[in-house]
């Protein structure tokens, strides 16, 4: 069960010719796949395309009606490999994952697929996780297209353009026997808008039907001598075919006047940003009617040389708007211009910053700088001489605190890292490697557990150099998502085979939680279309780990600490794996809250826990914060002149996970915390007992109260 349900939106996928779809970009892509007769879809979740996987998962009924096979692939590599179905069979297939990291993982399969070539249209939809909101290293997907020679689409970020690109992508793929990648940036994935829908199409040949008539052709296998033939085929046949197709079908677009001294060449995804800059300079109107020629590359690889040269005709300068680095398009067109003896000046990274997202102010500054260099007469007065004094607003950069992502309220991973921190407090700091997933937040304050991440499922593998052990054992962290993605073989298998004397902690929160709570093999929920409930401990024992510990309630901080200490100090010198399991609180609340509320309404006895702090017991030392960081645990300045420092307080959002109390106990912090359980619909005896208890306790309290001075304010 994913974090967000798309059951409602899935109904929009049934819309037919003449209807209008309004919604998010990612849903529009799904609809476009169905309209284009896709035969199979798959992928691996990750921002910003997680929702695409979630929608497909929620749309299984519709997909079955249309004879479309949906596979929630084990990894991006598995997803890309699935496109092999389009090598021999004329079936359209589409897979999705995030770039650049997902493409890294998929690159083996993508390279083989590109060499073999395809018969059916093969489309890879990549959510380019670059710029603001990104959670990965800042790199481009673009070079993968260049090295493997598949085509790269970068459509303008509006729904009709994205939807059209899906259809164009399949046809381009089929016309050139080459897989096509469509790149959509974070904001484009989440952009809202409308487009006119068409009827969904069943695939001409379904994957099920294809099995009845198997196809093969050894010339498509990547083995010599055909691998050499493939290479020649790519540049001699497929590339020219792509250029022809792109020109004939006008995949790239031209806006603005035909004649001008200057022009702008931009990636499709940059179009809106370019137009906004032109709008602010008075060179375009609200509808994008530009006074400057704009050549929009909806296909960013390959660049069609003849088309680029034609655009340069009669121009003295062109600006290449290309996000990220290296500036591959700029280099490529510069070479074209040079080879053809053009005198046109090519601007790009001379006016743009070399690296980073092209945000609004950067785009405006760079476009302005370009005009100032190339055609100052086109700039309005203010652009030529921007002398308007900036308002003198106080600098808040020293005041406003950074707010990196962190564990949610009640997160079951928090006590794991509190336990590890406590174990280290006793045994000293250890070498700790992190992985990809929510658990990587532990590398940030307040835990500061783990100092690097090398990739999904590679946490233990990235400690391999320390496998021989030493005075203190190395620790690595691996999530359940990463474990099943790649970790079982690359990390745990590696530890077993190399007799690693180190400790791997597998954080099992029942989901691929960081990407939105998708199920994985070890999820505990029953999933009608997937096989879940495969314990991680069985898997690691199965591949030869003999020292395995399972913790079933991570909130038991003392137990986490003690098991960590055991693993770090035991005489056993082989790989030690600790599986720490508790359900992701975000998903658990989503699952349990409605059930609990219904139970309360139905009159069933229900306990609802939450935590509190006795403010007069709390001394304001904030030791608890340094072992928690829970959003619901904050500090509060008391109205007491004797107090200097704010005291801990717990707000209404507390879900009563227990971490506060466990940490206070395990770390022997203080007695300030209490848990209050509200028992709804208590039984008759329970109510009677509570009344009598309160009576007895109240009598004692009154008695003592009467004998001493008591202050009310």
């Amino acid at each position: 069960m994913a974090e967000r349900s798309f059951k409602k939106e899935v109904e929009h996928l049934r819309k037919g010719t003449g209807d209008v779809f309004t919604g998010e970009g990612i849903l529009a892509i799904t609809k476009a796949l169905l309209e284009n007769g896709v035969g199979y879809v798959g992928g691996y979740q990750g921002a910003p395309i997680s929702h695409l996987m979630d929608v497909l998962s929620d749309a299984q009924e519709l997909l079955e009606e249309l004879d479309v096979r949906f596979e929630a692939n084990a990894s991006e590599a598995a997803a890309a490999a699935m496109l092999a179905a389009s090598v021999h069979y004329p079936i359209r297939g589409a897979v999705t994952f995030k770039g650049a990291v997902g493409v890294n993982v998929a690159s083996d399969a993508l390279a083989n697929l590109s060499s073999s070539g395809v018969t059916g249209g093969a489309l890879v939809i990549v959510g380019e996780d670059y710029g603001e909101g990104s959670s990965i290293m800042q790199e481009r997907t673009h070079p993968f297209a260049m090295k493997s020679q598949f085509w790269l689409l970068d459509p303008r970020p509006n729904l009709p353009s994205i939807v059209k690109a899906v259809g164009d992508g399949f046809e381009l793929s089929e016309a050139t026997n080459t897989p096509v990648m469509m790149m959509v940036r974070i904001r484009a994935c989440h952009v809202t808008g409308s487009f006119e829908t068409c009827d969904n199409q069943k695939p001409a040949l379904s994957v099920r039907q294809a099995l009845s008539d198997p196809q093969k052709d050894f010339q498509r296998v990547v083995l010599p001598p055909w691998s050499f033939v493939h290479e020649q085929d790519k540049v001699n046949n497929r590339w020219p075919a792509a250029e022809t197709y792109i020109l004939d079908n006008q995949l790239n677009e031209f806006f603005g006047p035909g004649d001008s001294e200057v022009g702008i060449v931009c990636q499709g995804g940059m179009y809106n940003g370019v137009i906004r800059a032109l709008q602010r300079l008075g060179l375009a109107d609200m509808y994008g009617n530009s006074q400057v020629p704009v050549y929009v590359l909806n296909v960013t690889y390959p660049i069609v040389e003849t088309e680029f040269l034609r655009f340069c005709e009669g121009k003295s300068s062109v600006l290449i708007v290309e996000e990220g680095q290296p500036e591959l398009i700029e280099q490529s067109v510069s070479a074209m211009a040079y080879r053809n003896g053009l005198t046109v000046k090519i601007h790009g990274k001379d006016v743009f910053p070399k690296a980073g997202e092209l945000q609004g102010h950067i785009m405006l500054d760079a476009v302005t700088a370009f005009f100032r260099k190339a055609a100052p007469q086109m700039l309005p007065g203010q652009g030529r001489a921007p002398n308007t004094p900036k308002p003198d607003i106080p600098d808040l950069s020293k005041t406003v605190p950074v707010r990196p992502p962190s564990f949610c309220t009640g997160c079951p991973e928090r006590p794991i890292f509190a336990g590890i921190k406590l174990a280290q407090a006793e045994l000293g700091e250890h070498q700790i490697a992190g992985d990809i997933g929510c658990h990587l937040f532990a590398s940030l304050p307040p835990f500061e557990v783990g100092g690097a991440t090398m990739g999904y499922g590679l946490g233990p593998a990235s400690n391999a150099a320390f496998d021989a052990g030493g005075e203190k054992r190395a620790i690595s962290i691996l999530g359940d998502g990463g474990f099943w993605h790649n970790g079982l073989s690359s990390s745990i298998g590696n530890m077993v085979y190399n007799k690693s004397d180190s400790v791997a902690v597998i954080v099992d929160n029942y989901y691929s939680a960081a990407t939105g709570g998708q199920d994985v093999l070890s999820s505990r929920a029953a999933n009608p279309t997937k096989q879940t409930n495969n314990p991680i401990t069985d898997a690691v024992k199965g591949i030869g780990v003999n020292w395995v510990r399972q913790i079933d309630r991570t909130y038991d901080v003392a137990k986490v600490r003690d098991v960590m200490k055991e693993a770090l100090t035991t005489d056993y010198d082989g790989p030690k794996v600790i599986v720490m399991s508790s359900e992701c609180m975000l998903n658990r609340q989503r699952r349990e809250k409605p059930i609990r509320n219904q139970a309360i309404r139905d009159g069933a006895r229900t306990e609802v826990p939450r935590f509190g702090v006795d403010e007069d017991v709390c001394t304001g030392d904030h030791a608890c914060m340094r072992l928690s960081g829970c959003p619901s645990l904050s500090v509060n300045q008391l109205d007491d002149p004797l107090r200097d420092d704010p005291v801990a307080s717990i707000d209404q959002t507390c879900v009563g996970c227990g971490n506060c109390g466990e940490v206070a106990d395990a770390a022997i912090l203080c007695p300030s915390f209490y848990r209050a359980d509200v028992v709804h619909n208590p039984g008759g005896f329970e109510s009677w007992l509570a009344r009598h208890r309160a009576g007895v306790i109240g009598w004692f309290q009154k008695r003592r109260s009467a004998k001493r001075l008591e202050f009310t304010t």
């Binding site: 909101g133 609200m286 005041t399 992502p405 209050a676």
Partner: protein, 526 residues
């Protein structure tokens, strides 16, 4: 050269000005997405072209997030909207939390020529602010002051509270404030229709919307809070305590002693008296005043009695130390049960269970023994080990059950015994040494004496945290000989104390101490 004066001065196209640009800056999990959907639905229902985007992703896990919306009246064709906010080009900014509003100002999204800023003044503290051992909370005043300057129109109030009071969440009150501000050209019922169409938690959302709408349409910003400790006159005058007549008479006598104190000392002394009497007894309160008298005798109006004022604060805190008896007493009072109930607000017909998390160690047990016996036990390693084996473990005590309550109640009743205990003897010894140091210093260096008094702030917490605080205090005190005779000794002690409060282990403190050691070496010819 181009003659620029001959050229047309175009400026942005007229139609471009019709685009309304709106950004929501929020903390992940605040419901920024819901708010964005409502705004978008409102605009579309009014026949406007509208586009929303977000960078939802890992930031949804409690990080800073941003939602961006552009809209324009539909007059023909599809407008080309931007997918991201640009500094200096926003009409409306919604800050769902004060520092996120600050972030919007910092990023230049808020400009005085055109931006309406709708901000909630409540705080969601960042980890960095919460984890410092001292007070790490940043000043809200700077953001508020910047907001006054940076905005064209400002509406700021605690919209989180408005939402909570109406049983809803902040997205609803922010939406109400947006509607009430009049920054969007849509009627009120258009906004409300969007909430209804959304379909979830409609009634509470509409209530919170309405409350915020009224506040924003009145344009009534909440006043900035008066900085703490600056307006003592506004504090409630302490009401005389309840209790037996003889004790009240004793209190009145003590209270009259405070009345005779110099004005600047009175408020703190009264709070300190209350704390020490509450901790132990009226007699103990008398001892507190005696100690304070000792300081007052060395102080004068010349220095505005600041030594006495600080001493009034820290002597009280030192005398009302956090021992087992105090914790047990506080947790078993009727007033405490009432406070828990007020906090948890259990519905009628429910039963409340309260569990305390206690973890006594040998030190706590020995601390309860008579001073001499306790000291002997404490010196005996194997006996301490035995005690730890017997007692040192987490104890979950149900204080709503009679048995659990009675255990703590009886412990809390040991107040009469307290003054004989080892813990009390230790606290008194520490207190006396500290006050002697103050007494020794005040004649030579008044400012330094004040700073030494203030260093008592470093001692807080329980068990290891308490030990760490003590160690920091000792490290600061050990620097005193190095600073002897320096004019800036007081300033250095202040710096050391502030450094000690910056991090848990005292790394900043060690750094500052090294600086002192280095210049002490330089000036010392030996």
């Amino acid at each position: 050269m181009n003659d620029m004066s001959q050229l047309p001065d175009a400026g942005p196209d007229q139609t471009v000005g019709e685009i309304i640009k709106l950004a929501v800056l929020a903390v992940g999990g605040q419901g920024g997405g819901v708010l964005g959907n409502w705004i978008e639905a409102t605009a579309r229902a009014q026949g406007w072209a509208c586009q929303a985007t977000s960078v939802a992703g890992v930031a949804q896990r409690t990080g800073s997030t941003i939602y961006y919306i552009e809209m324009a009246p539909k007059t023909g064709g599809d407008p080309v909207f931007s997918l991201m906010p640009t500094a200096g080009d926003l009409d409306i900014v919604i800050g769902a939390e004060l520092m996120e509003a600050g972030r919007a100002i910092m990023r230049g999204f808020v400009t005085p020529d055109r931006t309406t800023l709708i901000a909630s003044s409540h705080r969601v503290l960042s980890i960095a602010e919460k984890m410092v051992p001292g007070d790490g909370v940043v000043s809200p005043e700077e953001v508020r002051a910047a907001a006054e300057i940076a905005t064209h129109q400002l509406f700021i109030t605690d919209l989180d509270q408005v939402a909570t009071e109406n049983g809803s969440v902040i997205s609803a009150s922010l939406f109400g404030a947006l509607a009430g501000s009049g920054a969007l050209p849509f009627p009120r019922d258009a906004f409300e229709a969007a909430i209804r169409t959304g379909g979830r938690g409609v009634e509470p959302s509409l209530q919170a919307f309405s409350a915020a709408y009224d506040l924003a349409s009145d344009g009534a910003n909440e006043p900035a809070a008066a900085p703490a400790n600056q307006a003592p006159d506004n504090r409630p005058v302490p009401v005389a305590p309840r209790g037996p007549a003889d004790l009240r008479a004793a209190w009145n006598a003590l209270s009259r002693r405070v009345d005779a104190f110099p004005e600047p000392v009175k408020e703190m002394a009264r709070a300190g008296l209350k704390k020490t009497v509450d901790f132990q007894s009226a007699d103990y309160g008398g001892q507190y005043l005696n100690r304070l008298d000792g300081i007052l005798a060395r102080d004068s109006a010349e220095n505005d009695w600041s030594l006495s004022r600080e001493a009034a604060k820290y002597i009280a805190n030192a005398m009302a130390y956090d021992d087992v008896i105090r914790v047990a007493d506080l947790k078993t009072r009727g007033s405490r049960a009432a406070r828990v109930t007020a906090e948890v607000k259990p519905a009628g017909g429910t039963v409340l269970h309260v569990t305390e998390f206690m973890h006594p160690r040998a030190e706590e047990i020995v601390g309860l023994l008579p001073a001499k016996t306790g000291a002997r036990w404490q010196a005996n390693f194997s006996r301490m080990k035995t005690l730890d084996r017997l007692f040192n473990r987490g104890r979950r005590v149900r204080t709503d059950s009679v048995l659990g309550f009675m255990v703590l109640f009886l412990l809390g009743g040991l107040r009469g015994w307290r003054l004989k205990t080892l813990r009390h003897a230790q606290e008194v010894a520490h207190l006396e040494t500290w006050l002697e140091r103050v007494a020794d210093t005040v004649g030579r260096d008044y400012a330094l004496a004040v700073e030494i008094v203030r260093c008592r702030r470093l001692i807080k917490g329980y068990s290891d945290t308490h030990a760490r605080g003590n160690s920091k205090y000792d490290r600061v005190m050990n620097a005193l000989p190095l600073l002897a005779g320096r004019n800036d000794a007081a300033d250095w002690i202040r710096r050391l104390r502030e450094a000690a409060l910056q991090d848990e282990k005292g790394e900043a403190l060690d750094g500052a101490l090294q600086t002192i050691a280095s210049f002490a070496d330089e000036t010392d010819p030996t």
